[in-house]
Symmetry: C2
Subunit: 450 residues, 2 copies
Amino acid sequence: MGKRIEAVDPLLLTARDAAWRIADGVMTSSDYVASCLDRIAEEEERVQAWEFIDRDKAMRQAENCDRRRRLGLPLPPLHGVPVAIKDIIDVEGMPTGNGTALDGGRNAQEDATVVRRLRDAGAVILGKTVTSEFAYYQPGKTHNPHDPSRTPGGSSSGSAAAVASAMVPLAIGTQTNGSVIRPASFCGVVGYKPSFGAIPRTGILRLAPSLDQVGIFARSIEDAALVECLMGPDDVDPDITQNPGPLSATAASESPVTPDLAFARTPFWDRADGETQLAFGELQEALGSQLEAIELPEIFARGAGWLEAIMAAEMARNLGHYVDRAPDQVSDRFRQLIEDGRAMKAVDYQGARDMRQVLRDALKLVFQRFDAIVTLSAPGEAPQSLDTTGDPIFCSLWTFCGLPAISLPLLTGPNGMPVGVQLVGAAGQDARLLRTARWLARTLSEEGEP
Amino acid sequence: MGKRIEAVDPLLLTARDAAWRIADGVMTSSDYVASCLDRIAEEEERVQAWEFIDRDKAMRQAENCDRRRRLGLPLPPLHGVPVAIKDIIDVEGMPTGNGTALDGGRNAQEDATVVRRLRDAGAVILGKTVTSEFAYYQPGKTHNPHDPSRTPGGSSSGSAAAVASAMVPLAIGTQTNGSVIRPASFCGVVGYKPSFGAIPRTGILRLAPSLDQVGIFARSIEDAALVECLMGPDDVDPDITQNPGPLSATAASESPVTPDLAFARTPFWDRADGETQLAFGELQEALGSQLEAIELPEIFARGAGWLEAIMAAEMARNLGHYVDRAPDQVSDRFRQLIEDGRAMKAVDYQGARDMRQVLRDALKLVFQRFDAIVTLSAPGEAPQSLDTTGDPIFCSLWTFCGLPAISLPLLTGPNGMPVGVQLVGAAGQDARLLRTARWLARTLSEEGEP
């Protein structure tokens, strides 16, 4: 009444815009969530992003948000905004499927820390999104929204696809190797995995606690910064020793000087396909001297192997019981992983873990000179298959070292599919990374103008 | 010159008193250090506490301290006070022997973090004290100052014996199982091992980084609190996440209320000898209702085994190369440890590590109700042998959990040898532990008066 109502498709809003509109009374959370549920109803058959949705519960949460506003109560940053939760993360009263029939029908008794914090931030918990089996390689049912014959990537497949197909503005995922950055790249959305040690994993399927990290899918860098509300110790997860937030203010600020960017081919550059290498070359050209090529020491070639060793050993410890219980109901690849992990010697496992500090120290020198490392998020477009989730190799080093990383949908492959550019920051310097990412995105969009 | 010179034997001073006297000009550091060196010259043949002493260098440091005072410069808390350093800790320009002939003749290029911090605090680094082989079980040459036919305990044998025989007021040691608390008990001095994660191990022989902890030997609880100057991150040791200091002020303050003390027999009480159990019983009687017996859950019986598993796996990783290099020049017990560690599976190693959090959580409940757990420091008097360093079993649980512990020389065994009472505090609550220890010591000494 008197407010100017703009004719904007709510599905195109960023989470931040949506929250502002709801707070301003331009839009209700109920209408917004209903739009998202309608969109899901339309698109889900094609995309298959969801394991579980409770429409009624979602609408009740939205109505509570609208009531809160009517009562004039203070409104938290995600007030009324629907969020999707990867199906290895507990949401009270919803099943946690972990991508396996072995966990069918088990309802979570308590919210994971991240879910509780999302609720505290005002979010509407919409439902559970598809994960690959135990968040490892065996794909779930999800299709890539840009081309249903292609994988959305994994393991946070449904979270990436749900944001990419405008079903939700935000989705939570996890990354133990490349499970946020890779699907973000394949699905053409922003994917951001904060520094290791920033977000508690309490209530999340424990794969490899030395590596497991929470991340977010969003439609903008500013939206990705909203993950700050999940950060900080929870007195349960012993590895949460830092809080690199608040992020939003710094992420939205201008860099005081032009950021210094390092282009690291990494020892795995040959695994990127030719077209993608060319596309990255154009980006390099556009940035000119603003992007300086660096060579990582040879030892980095072994980083991915160390990550895989830790994953095998820790997943054998934490998930081996599934194989014992039902060896025929797990994938061959998962069974093999558990077998490898169980065979591993404690000294070799420690050897792999110790190398993380060595690589981190080497990268500290890089980050003394550069604001971010720029590289590919994935070797190319999403593979044209639903039997794979693609290759995480461009994520392994940074996940191993626990560095913050963000994937921006800046490139396009030969088949018109998105390919992400990955920026990697210094440990704990998440705000600086996001600010640098914004600078890069804006600079490239200006370059593209006539 | 106008100052009143008291006839006090400097060898009987606490470190704190000595530092005050030096700062006040009642005594010079040079005289004090010379007294200590004379004492060492007298006693060393009998005690054998030292691996290396550089008399000239010590005197030069003391003279520098005296010069600093004459110049009117600000004086740090340990100004002019000599400190002994366990011979697995690097001191620039001195050899680090690690208790093995295999490391003979190797001079350290840099100070360990704790040594640098001692120097910053004004201490005179006197020399290196005997450790058992690789700070494990094979004894070094040191004798117990109270009875040379008995072990001083280990692995920080020389540090404990040097303080006990009045050669130095303070000595630094380390504890991976029971290497500070046990020798403190056997030698009748105060031994204090702060919370895991408080003192950086940079520049110290790496045995088992999940367990390795720095501690101090002193003649009083107030002196033990001086270890606060070693606390806090050093940007190298990745496990240093807290600084429970400052300790001195709280340690010296009065408890606002009478502390609540829990007597935990631990599952290992039967390993204490009968006379020692009786002596502890008298202490219990003296304290009456101020000491409440508690029963630890059964799972604690396995804690010592988990600690041993972690020690074996991590020492195999970090020290296995010594066995490869010279299998005949290491002790059988050490060789066996490395063999066991190398055979261990990564999943079993992780299993042991994971249990630490379980036991810590159980003990959190205890520390919600009690200020400290009180128990024995060792099963009894120092064994009458130089072929053993004694049994660390009364330390294993607390070291495994990384809790702060202090041993007070409050009991006497049947042969007149000292036996320590151990107080254990909540993780990070070191100041509260020291305050409680002072209360206990004072209360018992008042009880003892007519």
